[in-house]
Symmetry: C3
Subunit: 228 residues, 3 copies
């Protein structure tokens, strides 16, 4: 195990956790009717989205979870989830906010995952894999806990592709000697731009139509699970 | 990583695993009809409830799972699961036994989780979080493996709140210098009493009604998943 | 933590990962209609089946995941998944190929899991448990990600029993001083033969009928989840 060459600055990590927590809580609080979550359920989803990717990253790297070594992560994720619940009432129909927020969050989680993997001596291919897992892992945990179909499997290709592109950029740039912080910033931008463009220009695989159905369902409270 | 100041005595840990195994098997063997589990399925659920919380605890702390370092844990959990199946035939309608057993088990798992986290130098907030995950983690694994809605998300608030109260007590008492063993014993009592009182006085969030429906379903073999 | 006495040769490990990837992709590409997976989804399932058991094994042993320490595992699993998709078109109705492939794969994952656990000083009972988890873990991850009932719980007894027999043989043979490589080879054969014989002679527990229904469903694209 090599000494890490790079540590994610705490403020950047907490920013990712906070944005993830807001985004998770906005998603979770969109459920109405019989599937409505109580306060604690929304907070759990916020913590999952904010911290789940980092947990998976550290387990895959084989390190103790960084998010549990200081108090700030859980406080930030929980606070952000509460904020997300309040914002949900205001912003829930402003789909753009959710899409952009989500794109930046998966970019950050992917970049932090890949950078940390590189710092611990993980080779190129698994470093990209760990980044993608960190980016989409929180969403998988959310779907499993909420009993939803795991979106990455059926409708989420462009999620993983966007995250993979950003993480691959970081790995390649690092091989060519680019400063890792600069590479990480560009990698976040690559992921976020691909993701937002995909939504803007409606790059929808045939499967993608289901995502729309699911979003509508989340808003109306009638969940029609595909294929059931 | 600091040297642990406190080790959970093997007999106490095995007691928790055994009670969890009994409780899990009683739950699992309650399923009838098409969802009926075979002998191995009931044993797996018993192992999940008895050992799942401890596994999650150790992964979150970043330590090799203690329950896999000696033979006794798996032998105890499996033996307890077999016992739980026999007891299920006798006690399954004695709801009180299940409720009290369950309350003590989540208290023990929470207390062991928080104490071990403290011993490994985890700060206060994540120490409580790890305790709650240890307390409810086995149930989450059970629900995911059985394809049930994850109860902690929809109906289980008071579970997590009870576990959180006990774990928070241990952390605060430890900060004030109380002996950790004494703190753990009181913490177990806090969790168990809150949980039992919540059931006794029917402190049911609107969501809680579903728990009842699910329990009925488990007994009659007709599973009506909420919201489907 | 003792120094490992035995390392799984890379070629053998990659062979298991590759066969698992092929088998996972053949399973996944069998889904038609609304549940059809896109290219990336099939690749994810291939990676899960090829590498999931090894990941679970290393987490349970408390070691960094071996499959993420070199580039070859992910390249092999992804390549095998693509191959499996092509083969699926040809072989999908040749049920025998899938059954034998699957039997050998669970034998290999079980044997590698138990051998590695022994090498890291894990006692006999948890060493068998880790082997069984390594053998069936990929399938559990697959079912959870695809939103299928976890087959090991309802219909998969003979899976776990076959894996358990092979792993138990390795542990016992090791206690009697047999060379671990020889023990592992025999253990793989024990698991594979039990599994194939069980299918050949239709040793079906009452629950097993559902497995058939699920297979038909996977081929026809109409998934009738049991008990819903």
């Amino acid at each position: 195990m090599t000494e890490p060459l790079f540590t994610i600055p705490l403020w950047a990590d907490l920013l990712g956790v906070g944005l993830g927590g807001i985004q998770g809580a906005m998603f979770a609080s969109g459920f109405q009717g019989q599937r409505r979550l109580d306060l604690l359920g929304v907070a759990i989803i916020g913590i999952m989205i904010g911290m789940g990717g980092g947990l998976i990253r550290d387990i895959l790297i084989g390190q103790p979870p960084a998010t549990l070594q200081v108090n700030w992560y859980l406080l930030t994720a929980t606070g952000a989830a509460l904020l997300g619940m309040l914002l949900a009432g205001i912003f829930n129909r402003l789909n753009t906010v959710i899409v952009v927020l989500d794109a930046v969050v998966i970019g950050m989680f992917g970049a932090f995952g890949t950078s940390k993997a590189i710092a611990f001596g993980i080779p190129a291919v698994p470093a990209v894999f760990i980044g993608v897992c960190a980016a989409v892992g929180g969403g998988v945990l959310r779907d499993v806990l909420m009993g939803l179909p795991v979106s990455i499997m059926h409708v989420g290709s462009l999620y993983a592709v966007a995250a993979g592109a950003g993480c691959a950029f970081i790995v390649v740039a690092n091989l060519f000697g680019m400063n890792i912080v600069l590479a990480a910033v560009i990698g976040i931008a690559v992921t976020a731009v691909i993701r937002v463009l995909a939504v803007l220009f409606d790059v929808s695989l045939p499967e993608q139509r289901r995502l729309y159905r699911r979003k509508v369902a989340a808003e109306t409270g009638v969940i029609t699970l595909p294929g059931r």
